[in-house]
Amino acid sequence: MLQCHVKGCNDPSLSFPLQLKDVELEQVETEQNDDLLANLLQKIDWNALQMTATELGLASLPETIPDDPDSDEAFMIKLHEVLMEMNITQGKMECRGCGHVYPIKDGIPNMLLAEHEI
């Protein structure tokens, strides 16, 4: 969902996904919304999600989306956990292209840029 938006940093192969570093995670249980998960599956870059989840030590997602994901209950539960329940409380997101660092403090990412970067 997030990408680097520094002006001039527009190599799509590098500005997304942002690389998470020094991350503290917490899991907060939420109600599973299968309509939302199905919609997210249409939008998500699966390789990027898989890579990010692995970097965070959440090695529970398969390398490819199952053929019939909506009816794969175990898969949908894992997807819900990774996408909707894992919150990053501390850490940073770093652009693989320009190196810009977006800090995450007390659960809140700061995506502001300096005026010259807009």
Partner: protein, 262 residues
């Protein structure tokens, strides 16, 4: 009755737009965040029905989400909130919402990611036509083709408790924190020191009312549509609804399906 502070017309907005917005919008919202938030809890009906009309499982962006009062309105959709005010974002987060600090003029989201977006009482804080257009352009960028955007701005023609000189459109609008109101800074470490009011206060709040001023551009009828029809946005957005509600003009914009992203 004590006289209520009234909006002050601004003859010429400084051309240092970013600095103007930093001192007369961003810093003020950080200073008034807790009190402001305590007055913002009832969803406006037009916004509520726009949210309720979204398909179950839709993903939306609330750009300028304030205290997050619209994020949880429809439990069947997911809304990512962002705001320029760290104080207000902190309040949204404590209410359990997914929020971040971001600038409407440079949103951190991917192109075409969202099914819908909200811009409620936000772009009237921007100090130039081009910046209001840019704010809508960024929202249009992150919405998918066919996705709708609901935009609310303050109306110059409003006949509520505030009176605006109809010969002006740019105002400093007072925000008054009544005396003895606790307003603990939401971000004690980042909130800038108040220039117009002393931020130091006990639990009961200061003994005198505190007055802060926020910059607003008040919109005339049809001016909101003109941000689209009189700019490069005309090719990428269509106006599919408009109206007047609660002292505001609003439009519903739809991203055309035949255009490429900016």
């Amino acid at each position: 009755m004590s006289s209520k502070p009234q909006p002050i017309p601004v003859d010429a907005v400084s051309t240092n737009f970013a600095q103007e917005e930093a001192s007369h919008v961003h810093q003020v919202y950080d200073q008034i965040a807790p009190h402001f938030s305590s007055t913002r809890y009832k969803p406006w009906p037009v916004v509520e029905s726009f949210l309720d009309n979204q398909l179950a499982g839709s993903i939306g962006a609330d750009v300028g989400c304030g205290n997050g009062k619209y994020i949880g309105v429809n439990a069947k959709v997911f809304v990512s909130g962002s705001d320029r005010s760290q104080g207000l974002v902190g309040i949204s987060y404590k209410r359990g919402f997914e929020v971040m600090v971001a600038n409407n003029l440079a949103l951190p989201y991917r192109d075409g990611w969202f099914d819908f977006a909200l811009s409620i009482a936000v772009i009237h804080h921007l100090t130039a036509f081009e910046r209001r257009v840019q704010a809508l352009a960024e929202i249009a960028r992150i919405v998918r083709p066919g996705g709708q955007i609901l935009v609310f701005v303050w109306a110059l023609e409003q006949r509520g408790k505030r009176v605006f000189d109809p010969h002006h459109q740019d105002f400093m609008v007072p925000w008054v924190i009544p005396k003895n109101t606790p307003n603990p800074p939401a971000t004690a470490t980042t909130a800038p020191v108040a220039a117009t009011a002393d931020a130091a206060q006990g639990e009961a709040g200061p003994a005198e009312p505190q007055v802060y001023h926020r910059y607003y551009h008040l919109f005339r009828e049809h001016e909101l549509e003109s941000l689209v029809t009189d700019s490069f946005l005309n090719g990428m957005l269509g106006v599919v609804g408009r109206g007047y509600d609660k002292d505001n003009w609003y439009v519903i914009l739809e991203k055309k399906s035949s255009v490429s992203c900016l």
